[in-house]
């Protein structure tokens, strides 16, 4: 299959700030492609360039073979976009929102009405189609927003943080819908902060940091690149005061982290750590209630590649643009 989306040297300057730095990647037709990165990394700027909202300073992008700048109308006919905010018309009904979207795509009346009915039924909102959207829950507004993006039977769906801020039920409904749509052949470009979600749903992920693509690969291959991030999770019935420090000093443990009532011991050799943890528990008369060996998660890969770490009270996080200006040697005046 050919590529659905191709970014070629996509670059964006905001005055002297280099927001996106010569980004290249390809999304195959029919895949779910995750686009991850910390806040201010350039995710939204990249999406805005891919969808034709923002003009790249350099480079270009193609959507199903159409150049987004030179043949923007043809390119936009191929895609549906769900931004991070549900930008529905709150004073219109669910039905009218979909019909208006159909009119924007110049769909014939009979087709837009049958498509709106089909989508509202698919999204479980047909019974409430006549109600104004302002009375809908956040999850329902999100579903309407996705339905609007699908009105024109697009080939590609851009989803920017589709499940952010939603309740568990809405998240499950939307994830299920995304999977079903993908099974029907739709290409999905998914931006998310939820790394577990990306790991579960995406065929491939790209991680962007400081405007540059740090890596593009399948989640499992990425996890294998950081074998050093294997860990052993242990929990004791009663936790001694110095447990964290003592566990960190065990042989083969590179780092120990307290996570709730558990300890996560990072190691290259889980079996040695299991043995030494057992000895530690015996020597201190501790009862082990949980022991798990855990492979590296996509979140571990993300943390390693982006170098992010939690800020302490003394260590205020840098503003993203300040950090970028300091770290980007090639910042220049906007041309």
């Amino acid at each position: 299959m050919g590529s659905a989306i191709e970014a070629i040297n996509l670059t964006k300057y905001y005055d002297d700030l280099l927001a996106v730095d010569h980004v290249n990647f390809e999304v195959e037709q029919g895949e779910i492609f995750g686009f991850l990165g910390p806040n201010g990394a350039g995710k939204t700027t990249t999406i805005r360039m891919l969808t034709g909202v923002s003009v790249p300073s350099e480079g270009t992008a193609t959507i199903m073979g159409y150049d987004i700048q030179r043949r923007s109308v043809s390119a936009k006919e191929q895609m549906g976009i769900v931004p991070d905010v549900s930008n529905v018309y709150k004073d219109l009904s669910a039905w009218d929102n979909l019909i208006f979207t159909g009119k924007l795509y110049d769909m014939p009346k009979a087709f837009r009405e049958s498509r709106a009915e089909e989508l509202l039924k698919m999204f479980g909102l047909y019974e409430r189609r006549k109600e104004k959207v302002k009375g809908f829950s956040r999850g329902m507004k999100r579903r309407i927003c996705i339905a609007m993006a699908l009105m024109n039977r697009s080939h590609i769906l851009f989803l920017d943080e589709p499940t952010s801020g939603l309740d568990v039920q809405s998240v499950l409904i939307i994830r299920d819908l995304i999977r079903k749509l993908n099974q029907q052949g739709l290409t999905i470009f998914l931006t998310t902060h939820n790394i577990e979600e990306a790991s579960q749903m995406c065929d491939r992920v790209a991680i962007i940091n400081y405007g540059k693509i740090a890596t593009v690969d399948t989640p499992e291959k990425l996890k294998r690149t950081v074998e050093s991030l294997q860990s052993v999770e242990v929990a004791f019935e009663a936790t001694p005061q110095n447990a964290l420090k003592e566990l960190e000093e065990l042989p083969q443990v590179s780092e120990a982290v307290k996570q709730g009532d558990k300890f996560k011991l990072f190691t290259r050799d889980p079996s040695s750590v299991l043995a030494s943890t057992w000895n530690y528990a015996q020597n201190n008369n501790l009862k082990l209630i949980t022991v798990n060996t855990v492979g590296p998660s996509l979140e571990d890969v993300f943390v390693k590649l982006t170098g992010i770490k939690p800020a302490t009270a003394q260590e205020e996080p840098e503003k993203p643009d300040q950090a970028r200006k300091q770290k980007m040697p090639n910042a220049r005046k906007h041309q």
Partner: protein, 167 residues
């Protein structure tokens, strides 16, 4: 080639009409539209005429022109910032819609609102004060051209206000 061109023009007109119709349903009854499009010209008219001995034949055209100006020019600065704030304006930018169709739609919304509201003082003049239309063609042309110009003026101000507010 001609068919392609005419279908393209037809599409632009259909999309512009869809945008204008949506604006009518969504924003015509918003408080800022009512305030600046209806109450403001009426109040200004009262402030301008009360205490002066102007003949009725002169008062009604003043009210009509003020209504036409304020109602037509108020829609752009109401609708566009609201759409930017709700991020619904991005819908146009990500849809296969030309900038011309968006501008036509927004301007048409102002024209219909301005011309529609301005018919009220005309009817009031005819029904209650016995005013007469001496040249209907000139009146219609005046309504069409003025509402077009004032609506476009409103769109222009909406754009610059939007930029000033940093949106």
């Amino acid at each position: 080639m001609k068919d392609v061109h005419s279908s393209h023009v037809g599409r632009e007109i259909r999309v512009a009409w869809a945008i204008a119709a949506k604006d009518m349903r969504t924003y015509y009854t918003q408080p800022p539209s009512i305030m600046f499009g209806i109450l403001f010209p009426f109040t200004l008219f009262l402030a301008f005429t009360i205490g002066r001995n102007l003949p009725l034949a002169e008062q009604i055209p003043i009210l009509i022109s003020q209504t036409l100006f304020f109602a037509s020019s108020s829609i752009g600065p109401v609708v566009i910032p609201l759409e930017r704030a709700d991020q619904t304006f991005e819908r146009f930018l990500t849809s296969p819609v030309s900038l011309l169709a968006i501008l036509m739609g927004k301007t048409l919304g102002g024209i219909i609102y301005g011309a529609g509201i301005s018919v009220i003082p005309v009817l009031v003049g005819i029904v209650f004060f016995g005013s007469q239309i001496t040249n209907l063609g000139a009146l219609i042309a005046c309504f069409a051209l003025s509402s077009l110009a004032f609506s476009a003026l409103g769109i222009m101000f909406a754009q610059s206000l939007d930029r000033l507010s940093g949106r």
